[in-house]
Amino acid sequence: MQSSPDFARPVAQASLAGQRMRLFRLPWIAIAAILVSLFALIPLGFIIAVAIQIGWATVVELVFRPRVGDLLVNTFFLVALTVPLSIALSVALAWLTERSDLPGARLWAWLAVAPLAVPAFVHSYAWVTLVPGVHGLGAGVFISLIAYFPFLYLPVSAAMRRLDPALEDSAASLGLGPWRVFFRVVLPQLRLAICGGSLLVGLHLLAEYGLYVFIRFDTFTTAIVDQFQSTFNGPAANMLAGVLIACCFALLVLEILVRGEERYARVGSGAARQAPRARLGRATLPCLLLPLVVAVLAIGVPFVTIGRWLVAGGWEVWRLDEISAALGQTAFLAIAGAVLATVAAIPMAWLSIRKPGRLQRVLEATNYTVGSLPGVVIALALVTLTVRFMLPLYQTLVTILIAYTLMFLPRAIISLRASIAQAPVELERAASNLGRSPANALWSTSIRLSAPGAAAGMALVSLGILNELTATQMLAPNGTMTLALAFWSYSGEIDYAAAAPYALIMVAASLPLTWLLYVQSKRMAGQ
């Protein structure tokens, strides 16, 4: 499936020539990407070093044991069930909100993004309160679905909004019915969005900690934290992390295979016509049910639960000095980390769109692999390295910010990548031809045009930092108490009432970021 068949050949030729040209003219961007990736390799290198240090026999003993088998089964089913369900839900919601005449489509679109404002562990906290004793795989899949599907809904709905209806019209005029048009024309064009979003969801499932602790569902990440809490940096934790990295590799390979290399930018004169909305007619009421139920489960439940605990806790739980200090620290970490991660993502995102190839795949795989590692593994590597070799950086802001960058780089890259993909490469070439230096040409065209993606990426990274637990606890300077840490500490002592104000503030702080994401995805479609 080519979305712009007429232009495929000349573009391919031009980009081949362009590649040869840029290889000599822009090596710095590749170097920058390599540097970022080398940094990202630190945790991997650390685990390999540990494996070599403890010897093969011990590795076998720690990896090939029944516990690891249990965890593999849990992790496999979690991903294999949650991701397809998320895709189905997101595509259905995206179609309803973007391509049908569903009443209140804008409101429903916003409500489909809003669950992102509720940290995953707060979703879990809400459900454990509502249904005490809920646990296991079913609960894991359900809560993961409502917590993480917006990561798929956002790109899918944005892509759906941008589709050129001309293609669908052509297909229809060639005799395809509406369903077949959807499956043969619309769905394939959503492939990049679905792949990117699915990968993001899959990686979150592998790395999530708090959500699964509440519902007693063991994954590799929870098992690593258990080991960490028992042994700090013991070999068993590192070997579990090794298996987790292998899982992540499997996801990456899958995504690359499915994603393909097709070009999706629209090139041609004029702008795409806005797609007409399908009439739901009698199906309107049943169709309204889907976004309504999702909103109640994903937003209603957390809000009602937090409200319930706030009422139960009364004024006592609002310890304002504690809360304002935590809020300030969290805001600072989130903003600084978001800026750093976005800047580090630029070279990689650019390469992956403009110069795909073996080097780019290796580098990208590196970044995604590291991004899928639980915070605790990255933190473990950085703690050991800083304490042994870079003592002045130990327990400093620099180290925690580097950890955030490594962890959340994929979020920044994916957002930027989608944005750069839409900035026509022709502009960059034109700028070069008009005499700008390579760096300047890039800056004044693709990077500026990808500002919406960068902003979306920053919002995503900030959201991640806002909800981060384990790495913050291990790496942050002494005395650091973020909103997430305070929430976790109180809920760990099953003082759910005292944890409620922190949950509320986290949600309130996330809402504007989520709103920004929503607005951004609208603006990208020119609305």
């Binding site: 029944p66 080991q227 028992s230 042994t231 600084a336 703690v383 002494n478 500490s489």
Partner: protein
Amino acid sequence: MKSVFSALASAITLATILTTSPVSAQEKEIIVYNAQHKSLAEEWAKAFTEETGIKVTLRNGGDSEFSNQIVAEGAASPADVFLTENSPAMTLVEQAGLFAPVNADTLALVPKEYQPSSGKWVGIAARSTVFAYDKTKLNADQLPKSLVDLADASWKGRWGASPSGADFQAIVSALLQLKGEEATAAWLKAMKENFKPFKGNGTVMKAVNAGEIEGGVIYHYYWFGDQAKTGENSKNVELHYFKNEDPGAFVSVSGGGVLASSKHPDEAQAFLKWIAGKGGQAVLRDGTSFEYTVSTGEAANAKLVPLADLQAPKIDPATLNSKKVTDLMTAAGLL
């Protein structure tokens, strides 16, 4: 693109400035690695600062995590004081040779049974193992006579614990000390078959209260703490003390020590003395922690069953082995 690099450069510079800002300007400040409950340590720190003007910065975490972290940090550890919930973590740091001797006047406050003979750390509080059970489901005669009984097939699926916590691991270390390695490994294997895992002792009690399990092996103070608050998580729960010098009657000693690498040893020693002394023990007695006091002449909270009545097994806290316990638990598939 240059501006991107300069943005990156300025971000790093800013971060470096912020992190290397003069910490030493505040002379009277100590850093405490706190594995005790956050609320308890905060109460201690606040009262101590008010009394002495010495600022206390807490880093919160768990026993085993911190003990291993301190060992990894070695002489470079930023910590001045280390506080735990259980003693195995103390032993680990002591064996690495990282503790300074505790001042003699502090040691004199606490009876010999709550401190190691080496004098490298000192007991600051204590907690008793209990079997928290659902009183709507179990009668007194249906309760296990010993912790060992929970390995019996008749208990399959009926009890819970928090195996990843240092608390439960301390209880296992007592079992190891009393019954030996072989018996402990067999017991853990049976436990893996029988029990339901939870994260955190409070969660275990909550599950007992909700009827998910009939009983759980935890420490006593979770129940008292919840009763003093809303009682919402413990209204169906009763505590069973094993007594009879059973491994399940184990009383765990919470410890405090001063790091040899401390840059503020006098302030650190003062803080430890304050906790082991009248002020710190009064917080235990009158506050909401419900942990036992350990200092001579400092009575515990009146609501608690007196320590002397618990018939705890006699175990030298310095002999408890945390490394062996985690190895055995990993081998049993519990970790």
